[in-house]
Structures are given as structure tokens and as C-alpha cells.
Symmetry: C2
Subunit: 115 residues, 2 copies
DNA sequence: GTATTATATAGTAAAATTACTATATTTCCA
DNA sequence: TGGAAATATAGTAATTTTACTATATAATAC
């Protein structure tokens, strides 16, 4: 499946690493998942996901730097949304994996490391 | 596409975050990509990818802790391989994204942040 | 047995991330 | 005009990650 595909370029590896690392935080995954539903204000994220407001702003800033989210400003409110298909693609992967785990099609089990 | 799928569980978010964060390092992406070709010894990785041997061992240890790779020992050599379908799935996503970027189907461009 | 090969592990300094508190800025409304 | 609401930003201590050097361990070859 994978072996006969295009060689991944060094630039892509760098960018992919940045995006994957950025996505590698529970809060940010939650935020991104929430944004799949459509654009949201900082306050909506802050209240609905029960996170401190500065934390939300901080995460959004990081994700904006990495081109994961964009925003439009309207008065005092900032409406954030997902920036590109890459992110949706990754999330689709995650959802598919989740579905297969749920259905028992895969018996793979993450372990909690003890160190 | 995504909106009507199963809600991602909190446990999955935690695990996904761990795996994504671990994969979010250029060297580890290279190693994982190399392992797609089949099991490899530490020395092969170290020489073929031109990384310091302790660095390779360190990355492999981290990825083993996260169930991204497994290994079998034969004499003094350790043969590492990818541990599960989750990783291949993520890599497939990355490859697909790469292909679409290469073909121009997507005009998305990562930016290099200046901070 | 001794050197060599292959790999893991220990130790560590520098850098990055995280979570948090406090505060500044902007806009809106009474 | 003055205050409240929404959000960004600054500052910071604790933790984690990273990259590196040195060394330990175990198997093998001579």
C-alpha cells in the first residue's frame, strides 16, 4: 500500500513533523475536533470545552502559526476555523482508526507506559 | 465526512495525542518511513539515515514506549519494525496529502513561521 | 581470553512546551 | 463617558524534549 507511493520529500517531513507535533496535544485535538463543526469564537471554545481562556488563545495562536487554523474578526470576537484539508485528512484517519477499534476489527491496544 | 462519524472518546484523544506528538519529529518520521520497507537493525537505520547511533536508540526507545515499533533480538542485533496499523494509516494519510500537493490538486502551502 | 561489533543506557546542558496569573487592548453598550 | 465583554499578550516556573558524550553490556570472532 505505502511502499509504492511517492517518496516523501525532506520539506514535507519537516512540515508534517511540525503539524503532527502541534496536533499532539489533547486540548488541541479537542479544539480541532470542535472546529470541524464550523467556525467558533474563543469564548465558545473556552466555555464548551471547559478550558481557561488564555490557554485557548495560546493554543489557537500556536495552531495559527502552524497554519492549522485561521480566523476572522468581527467586533471584539474572533471566529476561528480549520485552515486546510490536511487537518481534516488527519482527523479522518483518526476517526477511521477509532471506528475500527470500536468495531473490534483491530485488536490493537495502546498501553500506558510505566516510565 | 467527519461530522457524522462516531464521537472521538476521551481515551482515544489521549492516546492519539501521544502518538501524534511522538510522530511529530523529523527523525522519527524518517525512521518510521524507513521501517515501512521492512524490519531494520539499529545499525542499518543509523547508517542509512545518517543519524548518531545513540540518537537512533533513543528514538526507538521512545517509539517502543508508545507502541509505535516493536523489535526482535538476534544475537547482538535488534531488528525493529512498525508495531501496528495505526501508524501505517497515519503515514498513508501523509502520503496522500503529499501526492495531492505534488499534483497541484491542493494549493495549500505551509508557511515558515517567523517566531 | 581478548578484541571487536552492535546496541543500550546514563548523564546532562540547552531549548521547547505547558499551565498558569496578571494585565493590556479593543469594541460595544447604557 | 464609563464600564463590561471578548480576546490577546506578557511573564514565569515547572516540566519535557532534544542532542550529545561517555560508558556499560552482551554477543561474536580470533
Amino acid at each position: 500500500m505505502v511502499s509504492n507511493q511517492t517518496k516523501i520529500s525532506p520539506e514535507f517531513i519537516q512540515n508534517a513533523a511540525r503539524v503532527l507535533k502541534t496536533l499532539g496535544h489533547p486540548d488541541r485535538i479537542k479544539i480541532v475536533e470542535f472546529l470541524e463543526d464550523g467556525e467558533k469564537t474563543v469564548g465558545q471554545i473556552h466555555r464548551d470545552l471547559n478550558m481557561h481562556q488564555p490557554i485557548v488563545s495560546q493554543h489557537l495562536k500556536v495552531m495559527h502559526d502552524r497554519d492549522i487554523v485561521t480566523f476572522r474578526q468581527e467586533g471584539t470576537r474572533y471566529f476561528y476555523s480549520l485552515a486546510n484539508n490536511f487537518i481534516t485528512k488527519i482527523l479522518n484517519c483518526m476517526s477511521e482508526v477509532q471506528a475500527k477499534l470500536d468495531s473490534g476489527e483491530w485488536d490493537f491496544e495502546f498501553s500506558i507506559p510505566n516510565n
